[in-house]
């Protein structure tokens, strides 16, 4: 019996998180911390750091990773399910409505002008994101070569992104194995 209220509580908490964070990803971490550590006492501050580390090193959106992990910790599989559903539902509902509204207004003249301006603004947001990813990335000749290689291959050659991602993961693993063997000697 005790598990049923917890799953509902997870659902509602993560709906709130999904509804009140803009931009997703790291923007959600402070709210997740406040709700699940300070308000509900489900997990500790250390857990939050671990969750961020795991979310970074597993595929998929950070918000989904964090919701699934916390839900599982708190109430097992059903907990994971309700937390994930909770964080997805607000976006899903809002965007479904937005997509129909947007289709209605797309041919209005001033909206087209507005989007002409917005497109240039969005590029700036991507530049900012690129900079913060660069800051989080490891530095050194090995990293710079991978950055350059991934950029050149995807920008100028007809090679798909998945192939580049897999190759870079393998290169990283090989490099780690070589380094650890060198350390042993």
């Amino acid at each position: 019996m005790k598990r049923i209220p917890k799953t509902i509580s997870l659902l509602l908490t993560f709906m709130k998180i999904g509804l009140f964070t803009f931009g997703g990803g790291y923007a959600m971490i402070p709210l997740i911390q406040r709700e699940t550590v300070e308000n509900k006492n489900w997990i500790s501050d250390e857990d939050i750091l671990e969750i961020v580390a795991i979310a970074e090193s597993t595929p998929g959106p950070i918000a989904i990773n964090a919701a699934t992990f916390i839900g599982y910790r708190v109430a097992g599989f059903l907990g994971a399910l309700s937390a994930t559903l909770g964080v997805v539902l607000p976006s899903f509902a809002i965007i479904t409505v937005v997509s129909f509204v947007l289709a209605e207004f797309q041919n209005v003249r001033w909206i087209q002008y507005a989007f002409n301006g917005i497109r240039a603004g969005v590029l700036a947001l991507i530049v900012k994101a690129l900079w913060s990813m660069y800051k989080q990335s490891p530095k050194g000749i090995f990293s710079y070569l991978i950055m350059l290689g991934a950029f050149v291959v995807v920008a100028f050659l007809p090679i798909n992104v998945i192939f580049v991602i897999l190759t870079c993961a393998v290169v990283g693993i090989v490099q780690a194995l070589i380094m650890s063997r060198r350390d042993k000697k």
């Binding site: 509804l19 803009f22 931009g23 997703g24 990803g25 795991i54 595929p59 998929g60 959106p61 918000a63 989904i64 699934t68 992990f69 599982y72 994971a80 964080v87 607000p90 899903f92 809002i94 965007i95 937005v98 129909f100 001033w110 002008y113 507005a114 989007f115 002409n116 301006g117 917005i118 497109r119 240039a120 603004g121 969005v122 590029l123 700036a124 947001l125 991507i126 994101a129 690129l130 989080q136 990335s137 090995f142 990293s143 710079y144 950055m147 991934a150 950029f151 995807v154 920008a155 992104v161 998945i162 991602i165 897999l166 870079c168 993961a169 990283g172 693993i173 490099q175 780690a176 650890s180």
Partner: protein
């Protein structure tokens, strides 16, 4: 068939992107343009919509592309696709967390993936900026027109504001206002 395609495309996106948010952009760009679900301008417009609505970028764009191409059921399929890989992988990781954390393989793979994501986003940025700055293609004739300088102007101002940590929604609003004003003034 469109439902299956949506599900599979977003499953791929969910499975092969690390870091979330803009790190997903290169994969999303490749999938949606390859299937002709969105063109480059639509994609950029939607990034703005996603920044101004709550929730994770990946879920937002999955729902949006799904709704555009396959209605409500399409948006369910796409969203399910992008969420499923994370969900399953995290359940597995949560069970054997201690091993995962200290795994040399995971640490090594991340050392390769983090810089790769930087390069991939840079490539996405390059191709998106071609669409924004040269909507009619690269040619010398556009250089003489006033509207050619509007986008680079907004872009330069927005970069400065973004690095001054102005909220993304405010940057989008400001760009929209400048876009409307210059649009009517120059009669683009």
């Amino acid at each position: 068939m469109i439902y299956l395609n949506l599900f599979l495309a977003f499953l791929k996106i969910g499975l092969f992107t690390f870091g979330g948010g803009y790190a997903m952009l290169p994969m999303i760009q490749e999938e949606v343009t390859a299937h002709d679900w969105l063109n480059q301008s639509d994609l950029i417009d939607f990034i703005a919509v996603s920044e101004s609505t709550p929730g994770p970028f990946a879920v937002n764009i999955a729902t949006f592309v799904g709704a555009r191409t396959g209605g409500i059921f399409g948006s369910i399929c796409a969203t399910l696709g992008v969420v499923l890989p994370s969900f399953v992988i995290i359940l597995i990781v949560a069970k054997c967390y201690a091993k995962f954390k200290s795994s040399r393989l995971v640490v090594g793979a991340m050392n390769g993936l983090k810089p790769a994501v930087v390069g991939l986003i840079a490539a996405a940025l390059l191709s998106l900026s071609q669409t924004v700055f040269f909507p009619a293609g690269l040619s010398v004739s556009v250089l003489g027109t006033a509207q050619f300088y509007v986008s680079p102007g907004i872009f330069a101002a927005a970069v400065v504001l973004a690095f001054k940590k102005l909220h993304p929604i405010l940057i989008i609003l400001l760009s929209a206002v400048i876009g409307v004003i210059t649009g009517y003034v120059l009669q683009i």
